[in-house]
Amino acid sequence: MSFLTPLYLVGIIAVGLPILLHLVRHQPKNVFFFSSLRFLEHKPPQTNRKNKIEHWLLLMLRAIAVMLLVTAFARPFFKNTDLELASSDTKHQTILLIDTSSSMQRGTLWKQALQTADEIIKQADENQIAIYTFDSRLTTVKPLKETKQDTPQQTQQNDRERLTKLTPGWNATNLGLALTEIAARLQQQAISDPSGTLLQNSTIELITDFQAGAKIDSLTEFSWPAELQVRLHQLKEKQTSNAGLQLLALNEQGQATVRIVNAADSQQEQFQVAYQTALSESEQPQKIYVPTGQSRVIHMPAMDEQQQATRIVLTGDKHDFDNSLYLQPREQANITIVHYGTPAAGSTESPDYYAKRAFPTTPQRKIEFLTVGPDSPQVLLAVAKIHLMIVSRELAAEETNLVKNYLEQGGVVLFSLNQQQTNDTFQLLISHSQNNLTSEADVNGYALLTNIKFEHPLFQMFQAPEYSDFTKLKFWNYRRLSLPEDVPHQVLARFDHESPAIVNVPLGQGKLIVTTFGWTPQESQFALSTKFVPMMNAILALNANMIDTPSQFIVGETVKLPESLKAAKVSVPKASSIQLAAGQQNFEQTVQPGLYQITSEDKTTPAQKFVVNLDIEESKTAPLAIEKLEALGIKLLSHSKTTAANSTHADLKRQALIREMEQKQKIWRWLIIVALAMLGLETVLAKWIAGKTSATRKA
């Protein structure tokens, strides 16, 4: 048994009180004032009875009651394994968290970081050290609780070697994310740690330039554990002037709109910006004045078409790491749409008239719309080059095979069951023998669309309440479609008579979108409605090849690759090219700024280019105020606090654990109850004895 407040045990001396009272009860109480004691011999009251204790039981009860009370005040508790673990596991854990963001490339910052880390490793002695680096994400160099049984010297040596391998990268700083992740990991570890002192014994040694661009917002949503402390080693660079570039827009003519950000602690305000091509140095630098801590937007002149500029370079500041802005003008995509319909020049009654107009050419795409009439020659395009097939007339057998083939290879076909369509083509397309899959519906007045699957990509853009009103879209007539159950299909919308209106039938790798209505004004208001063009383009976008790949990325961003790229290779700036795995959809190795090129093994597929630039936040190199971290609830530890202070802290925590344990057990309550019982018994016994004595006296 242990005691929370053992000093109270001194009160055990009080047990002498009842004994003393038992002994001194014969001492006279009265005081007589006498004229003179000259003739009185000192004859104290009879001593033969003085040291004799008459009522042993009473004395015992009183003594036990006193002892119990004293013990209760000392707050006893039983130790358990948790406490033993807590006392045994008093080792301190140091977590080195080193900033490897691109802003750390400035001047001597990285050198300072390594020195600081080295000193911490030296001071840590027997402390466990975990090493993490962070930029936009947290990277483990040496995890928590590494189970290597090395000597301290070996461990230190290993840690230093690990440090030497580290270099600052090009990523942005997400300090908030790094801290929250570390804290979450420690909390996770603390759950499995029964003593609960792990968090208290952990210190995060944060080595960073703590620049203004470091994102710490995620800390606002995180409840920082009160026990976990962070010691901030804020590195400082003498040369503080820094400015950075951000691309805001790049038009087809190669004209860039650029923002220049000047750091808040910058000492320079005059900069030059110029295009730089691969072949030549910068030409015609544009002077720009940016006050410290502010930014300016400039429109760069159009690039020379002959010499496509690869980047914009900023000069005039002290740090070069963020002075290049890579450019990759987006290339116009060639899109081919084949319409099996009846061409009718200028006729507003033809489906072709509306379909053609639903796909305008834009800066991003160049639409080639081919209308194939019943009498037209066969289309000699490669299937891979057709992005969408629209069928609004009855197809010939060869044409049907062609469409089927296209579907098999992953194509998207919009099949309109309009007045001109017959059941046969549809039957052939879905390869089903059942006749009368479709029949003319009896429409009394008009039909409306209901049960629309807004979550489908076809209707996703109409999900917002302001666009989801389809009641103005009226259908004068349509075809009833009864697809057998063995044909897998998904009804995307129904008419108000519950007959399917739009059905998605997956065929092979492709998608067959069937509309049971025609879009010409004779049949419905669809082609004239605001829903027509978005829906037609949404159908075009169902084609996997149509994924619009952007060409500008930030370091660390994931690039989504088109599905059509098979066994592609990505050439990376200043490094050997990376072979992509089959079916790999994401490219995550955007680790440094520069031009990237994806080349497919398929020679027909043109190479895709994209550029990766630095996050503009990294250019905001002015140091942040430490108070910002404190305001977000981080417990910052001052540098002066030594490990001794840490051990005191650990002791305090152990005390807290003991207190908690004592409060759980609450043995003192039982002791008080027993003491009260003893006193009650003593009272009864004393009364009985007194009664007995007085009775004897009377007798």
């Binding site: 006279p28 009265n30 005081v31 004229s35 000259r38 003739f39 009185l40 104290p44």
Partner: protein, 312 residues
């Protein structure tokens, strides 16, 4: 004349004694009277009045006898008229010849504060002094008072003026000051200051050591003074008849002892008796009238014993 009366007084019959005894006032009742003067009057006016003799022959309206002048007599006392008639020198002896000069030495030390009867030894002693003073004033005798404890506290020189009794009573009303008893200093004082032979009455409990008592009493006697010693004691002091065990605190020294009185009684009595005997032996040796008065004794008894003793 006085000698005749004294004789009468000293040889009172058993009936007289009985009457006197019945007239005596219980000290407890007496002490309830607040005024010392009243107390003294009560005692004196009972029986005793003008019953003592003086070593001096004074002047009085009525003379009692003539005697022939012998050298050494005060010529002032020669009856010149008789001398003119008879050509003989006679000395007149007057009726009122009791010009006694009495000095009372009262011990008011803290040990005199002890009481077991509701009034202290000092109350008793003060009443005794007041009684003496009143008695003497009624006899036109001079009385003086010296109050002492460890030293002489106040002195009222002996006179037989009208206000003398008042002065003595005022002195007696004063609260006691000191603590210890030192009988020597008042005796020394008496030896040094009292020039006229007279009566010196020492009233004390004499619980203090008796080292120099003998010597200083001797000095007084040597100067021709008649000395009477009244030892005032509380009955509890004599018998130590306390029932319960208690802590006894010395009134003078403040010493405390826990005591079982029953156990200590025998030894105490023995020692006290030894002490008293010692005092008596000193008194006998020096020709001092010794009177032991316990505070439960009626004052008249004390006085009568004293007067009887003097007359003897």
């Amino acid at each position: 004349m006085s000698s005749i009366r004294m004789k009468q007084n000293t040889s009172h019959t058993p009936q007289q004694s009985k009457r006197l005894a019945s007239q005596r006032i219980d000290p407890a009742c007496l002490m309830r009277i607040k005024s010392l003067e009243l107390r003294a009057k009560s005692v004196v006016e009972g029986t005793w009045k003008g019953l003592h003799r003086s070593p001096y022959h004074g002047f009085s309206v009525e003379f009692t006898e003539y005697r022939e002048y012998t050298p050494g007599d005060d010529p002032r006392h020669i009856d010149w008229k008789l001398a003119a008639r008879s050509n003989q020198h006679f000395i007149k002896r007057f009726e009122e010849e009791t010009n006694l000069c009495c000095h009372m030495l009262l011990d008011l030390s803290t040990s005199m504060q002890f009481h077991s009867l509701g009034y202290s030894k000092s109350d008793y002693a003060k009443t005794l002094v007041a009684t003496f003073a009143y008695f003497l004033s009624t006899q036109r005798d001079a009385s003086g008072l010296i109050i002492f404890d460890e030293q002489v506290e106040s002195v009222v020189p002996a006179r037989f003026t009208r206000g003398q009794l008042r002065r003595i009573l005022i002195e007696l009303e004063r609260p006691p000051q000191g603590s210890h008893t030192n009988v020597v200093s008042p005796l020394k004082h008496a030896v040094e200051t009292i020039k006229k032979r007279g009566l010196v009455v020492l009233i004390s409990d004499l619980m203090s050591p008796l080292d120099e008592l003998n010597t200083h009493l001797g000095y007084l006697r040597a100067k021709g003074h008649e000395v009477a010693l009244f030892q005032i004691l509380d009955p509890a002091e004599i018998h130590l008849n306390f029932n319960e065990t208690a802590i006894f605190e010395d009134l003078e020294t403040g010493d405390r002892i826990a005591l079982n009185p029953k156990a200590a009684q025998a030894s105490y009595r023995q020692q006290l008796n030894q002490h008293l005997e010692e005092i008596q032996s000193i008194c006998r040796k020096q020709g001092v009238h010794y009177h032991k008065l316990t505070t439960d004794t009626p004052l008249e008894a004390g006085l009568s014993d004293f007067l009887a003793d003097r007359a003897a």
